[in-house]
């Protein structure tokens, strides 16, 4: 039923059909009238059929011509409407902007004018929508990129914060390590202090022992000197004995001389003299022995004195050594004290640093929280921007659904 469809869709055709049907009805009515009026006359003629045929044919031809003309006329009159209809259809299908030519000033013309105006409006609206949606899209993409940057920046920030926090924690652990080491140093320094003090005590003991040795040695030296004096005295006594023996010898010699001078009478006396001399000689011999022993004793005493001197010298050297050791120990003590002080300072400093580090960590955590908030906010913004962007996309889709045709 294509034809039927065609007639259903085309107003012009329907109108034409209606007009033609009306014309035909009119014509038939005319014919009927004519027939009614003139039929009897007509029927009388022989050319009735021919006339009827001519009339019918003429009627048909006229109707045809009438149809065509009417159709054309209606089409021409309805052309703007067609245009409007096709323009609207095209607009519905996406092409907007087909202006309608205004041919007349009647309703169709005013429709065309109004339609044109409406088209202008629509085009303007669409353009605005385009523009707005483009701008919106741009803005939302700007916002998106900005938020992306922000997000990436926030991520970097978070990463830096994490790094910094990690570094700070490492630092804090390092400082803890340093504080521990400093404490160890203090402990070791105190132990060294103890050792050095006990060393000093040992040095003092050594010094006092050496003083004892010295005093003992001096006592020994004094005793040896007394011994020497005693042997001097003994030597003196020996000298006295020696001189007595010498004098006795002289006496004995004198006696012998007297005995010799006395001759025979003195023979007995010379024996006495000889005995005396022998006694004196034995005394001299004994004193010589004693003297030899005394010399030995004296030399032994001298050796003892010398060795005591050696010992004293060694003791002196020992005392000096002990003094040197004492000095070194004093220096060590000083250094240890300095070390302790320095270690304590280090400990205090690391404590301060640890506090500072903790503060930094706390600040970093706050910054991290803020960054998180920022990130959340920017995520919100991003989602809003996305919504905006999708809205823009929608509106741009809406806009791009219409393809504006210039001109007309």
């Amino acid at each position: 039923m294509k034809l039927f469809d065609r007639y259903r869709r085309s107003f012009a055709s329907r109108l034409t059909l209606v007009v033609v049907v009306l014309a035909i009805v009119l014509a038939l009515a005319e014919f009927a009238l004519f027939y009614a009026v003139g039929a009897d006359e007509l029927m009388r003629t022989s050319e009735f059929l021919t006339d009827m045929g001519v009339i019918v044919v003429g009627l048909i031809v006229l109707i045809a011509v009438f149809t065509v003309v009417t159709r054309q006329m209606i089409r021409r009159f309805l052309a703007p409407l067609d245009e409007v209809a096709s323009s609207v259809k095209a607009a519905c299908e996406g092409e907007v902007g087909h202006k309608v030519e205004v041919r007349t000033e009647d309703e169709i013309g005013s429709l065309a004018v109004s339609y044109n105006q409406m088209l202008d409006l629509i085009v303007y609206l669409i353009r605005q929508t385009h523009e707005s949606s483009r701008r919106l899209g741009q803005s939302s993409s700007d916002i998106l990129s900005a938020t992306e940057q922000q997000a990436s920046g926030a991520a970097e920030q978070a990463a830096s914060i994490a790094e910094t926090t990690a570094t700070m924690e490492e630092l804090a652990s390092t400082y803890r390590q340093i504080a521990e080491n400093a404490d160890q140093v203090v402990t070791m320094a105190e132990a060294s202090l103890g050792s050095a003090e006990s060393g000093q005590q040992a040095v003092l003991n050594t010094l006092s022992a050496m003083e004892d040795i010295k005093s003992h040695t001096e006592t020994s030296a004094g005793k040896i000197l007394a011994l020497g004096e005693r042997s001097q005295q003994i030597s003196q006594v020996l000298a006295i004995i020696n001189s007595i023996a010498d004098q006795t010898k002289i006496l004995a010699l004198n006696a012998a001389i007297e005995a010799a001078r006395a001759g025979e009478a003195g023979k007995g006396f010379s024996v006495v003299a000889i005995e005396n001399r022998k006694l004196a000689e034995s005394v001299v011999e004994s004193t010589r022995e004693i003297s030899g022993i005394m010399t030995e004793i004296q030399s032994s005493a001298n050796d003892l004195v010398l060795s005591t001197e050696q010992e004293l010298k060694q003791v002196q050297a020992g005392v000096e050594l002990a003094h040197t050791t004492g000095g070194s120990l004093d220096k060590i003590l000083e250094l240890v004290e300095q070390t302790t002080v320095a270690a304590k300072e280090i400990s205090a400093a690391t404590q301060q640093q640890k506090t500072a580090t903790d503060q930094v960590v706390r600040a970093m955590r706050e910054v991290a929280a803020v960054a998180q908030q920022t990130a959340a906010g920017s995520r919100q913004v991003a989602s809003s921007a996305e919504a905006l962007s999708s809205m823009a996309l929608e509106s741009s889709q809406v806009g791009s659904a219409f393809q504006i045709v210039e001109g007309n």
Binding site: A256, I257, E258, A260, K267
Partner: protein, 179 residues
């Protein structure tokens, strides 16, 4: 001998000495017939030992004080007081031209008092030795090595105690000056 009372030990030793003396006394009488000798007192001047007849010696002493006398020959050192008697002190070494008796460093060397009929002098020496008995025939003429200057003073030599000892010529020593 001292006058102090003796204890038993001293008495015992005295008795011992007296016993020995008695024994040797007995022997001396035996030896007297065999041994005819003369006593010589030995003394040393410098490195040489000399001897003098014991009969010429009066005594020996040491520890004395010499009083110098002016304007006397060099070998006369001065005078000395011996138990109240004034004796001259002579130096035999100077007399013999041997230098001077030094006494081995001792300030007062021992002196031997020699005397003859006219003169007495104390002769200082370096050291006094023993009195020895020599046989009468043991004295020999002086050894030729002795210096000529000393020759007049040394009468002979005798071998005693493993050394040659010069016997002093007392007559020459005690010869008065200018005589």
């Amino acid at each position: 001998m001292s006058n102090t009372p003796k204890n038993d030990d001293q008495l015992a030793s005295d008795l011992e000495v007296l016993e020995r003396r008695a024994v040797s006394l007995a022997r001396v009488n035996d030896e007297d017939e065999v041994f005819e000798g003369r006593s010589l007192l030995l003394f040393r001047i410098a490195d040489e030992w000399y001897a003098v007849d014991a009969g010429d010696v009066r005594e020996i002493f040491q520890d004395y004080m010499v009083m110098p006398v002016p304007c006397v020959p060099a070998f006369i050192l001065g005078v000395v007081n011996v138990r109240g008697e004034i004796l001259s002190v002579t130096d035999p070494a100077t007399m013999m031209g041997l230098g001077a008796v030094t006494g081995d460093g001792v300030t007062i060397p021992p002196a031997v008092v020699i005397a003859n009929a006219e003169v007495v002098t104390a002769m200082i020496v370096d050291e006094i030795g023993d009195i020895v008995e020599v046989a009468k025939g043991a004295v020999e003429p002086p050894v030729s090595i002795i210096d000529r200057a000393q020759a007049e003073f040394v009468a002979g030599s005798v071998f005693v105690n493993d050394r040659m000892v010069g016997l002093l010529n007392i007559a020459r020593v005690l010869e008065p000056i200018g005589a």
